[in-house]
């Protein structure tokens, strides 16, 4: 448990150091995730402590989002001014995204089928 938590925090710290040193605007935690993934690929297994800690954290992930979400109360002004534009943007953009991805994946799986014949 402690060991698993240490690994996660250490990867995040390494990530934060890297993005600061390289002065890029990528979140340190995402770089930490990639570092951990590479580490796991190298050692070819997930240490037990790391797995239990990670699964515990991911299980409560929705709860971890709540404090940031409550911050919405600071944006009532923006929301009341732009709520319908924002809703239209989210709807159209999500529709287009799903349409494009589904079409591409369908084309690629069709090509594979034809190659097989």
């Amino acid at each position: 448990m402690v060991q698993g938590f240490l690994i996660l925090l250490f990867c995040q710290l390494l990530g934060e150091c890297l993005v600061t040193l390289l002065s890029v605007s990528i979140p340190g935690s995402v770089v930490g995730m990639m570092l951990l993934l590479v580490g796991l690929i190298v050692i070819k297994k997930v240490p037990d402590g790391l797995r239990s800690t990670s699964e515990g954290l991911l299980k409560i992930l929705p709860l971890l989002l709540v404090p940031a979400g409550v911050g919405l109360m600071r944006y009532f002004g923006v929301l009341s001014a732009y709520w319908y534009q924002l809703l239209i943007i989210l709807f159209v953009s999500t529709l287009v995204t799903m349409f494009v991805v589904a079409t591409l994946l369908r084309l690629m799986s069709k090509e594979k089928h034809e190659e097989g014949h």
């Binding site: 605007s25 971890l64 979400g69 409550v70």
Partner: protein
């Protein structure tokens, strides 16, 4: 009232409120058939905001306690490496279609949101907040913090996108006549992150696994891609 103003600044009060409200919201969501429109996070933050307004507590005071929960988001994002590693065999087998799907999805999602936002004349900070809207919230919050958007607003937009995605996806499948479970899951993960993934599990385990995979890959790719895109479009 003097007593309350002291009580209000106790961090543990807001920890108790957050956990209790979240448990009630989760229970309520299960009772309502797990509809994405009453997602526990959406319900929780609505109730907590109402409590804060009713007790005249500002966000900074709430965060005296809330910060300890928020702090765990960082290691939780790092922990997303584990489900990605578990699905490594699938990633290797389907590397090209998965990469094409997640890269094109991530680009279309953020570019279309930014372009629509420009068309509506939204300001730069709002555009930067919209850009990560299809990415899983912990990564979206981190991206918004980094590129100069509003992290809390980004979290809210991500949740709304997730709920919408669960409604849009079945219509897209019908229109394009998609029956492959893995494609269904992947589309949901790219366009509607964790909420889409949870919804994908309704189609089956394979769909759910592909959803999670798509969510992780799209999130990581977007985090690297947005800092490159933003200067190009001059934000």
């Amino acid at each position: 009232m003097v007593l309350w103003s002291h009580f209000q600044t106790l961090p543990v009060l807001w920890l108790v409120v957050t956990l209790a409200v979240f448990l009630v919201a989760s229970w309520f969501n299960v009772r309502m058939g797990k509809t994405p429109f009453l997602h526990p996070v959406l319900v929780s933050l609505t109730i907590i905001i109402l409590v804060l307004l009713a007790t005249e507590t500002d966000y900074d005071t709430y965060m005296l306690g809330g910060q300890y929960i928020h702090l765990l988001l960082g290691p939780a994002v790092v922990a997303l490496a584990i489900p990605l590693y578990d699905n490594l065999a699938t990633v290797k087998r389907l590397l090209v279609p998965l990469l094409v799907g997640c890269v094109s999805g991530a680009i279309v999602a953020s570019v279309s949101a930014i372009m629509l936002g420009m068309w509506f004349g939204l300001n730069d900070q709002l555009l930067l907040t919209l850009a990560p809207k299809s990415v899983t919230s912990p990564i979206a919050i981190a991206i918004a913090e980094k590129v100069g958007g509003f992290p809390s607003l980004a979290a809210g937009l991500v949740l709304i996108t997730g709920a919408m995605g669960c409604v849009i996806a079945p219509a897209v499948y019908k229109l394009l006549k998609i029956e492959d479970e893995s494609v269904k899951g992947f589309v949901l993960g790219v366009g509607a992150h964790a909420m889409g993934t949870a919804f994908a599990f309704e189609y089956g385990m394979v769909a759910g696994a592909f959803g999670g995979l798509a969510m992780g890959m799209t999130g990581a790719f977007t985090a690297f891609f947005l800092p490159v895109l933003i200067p190009i479009i001059g934000l």
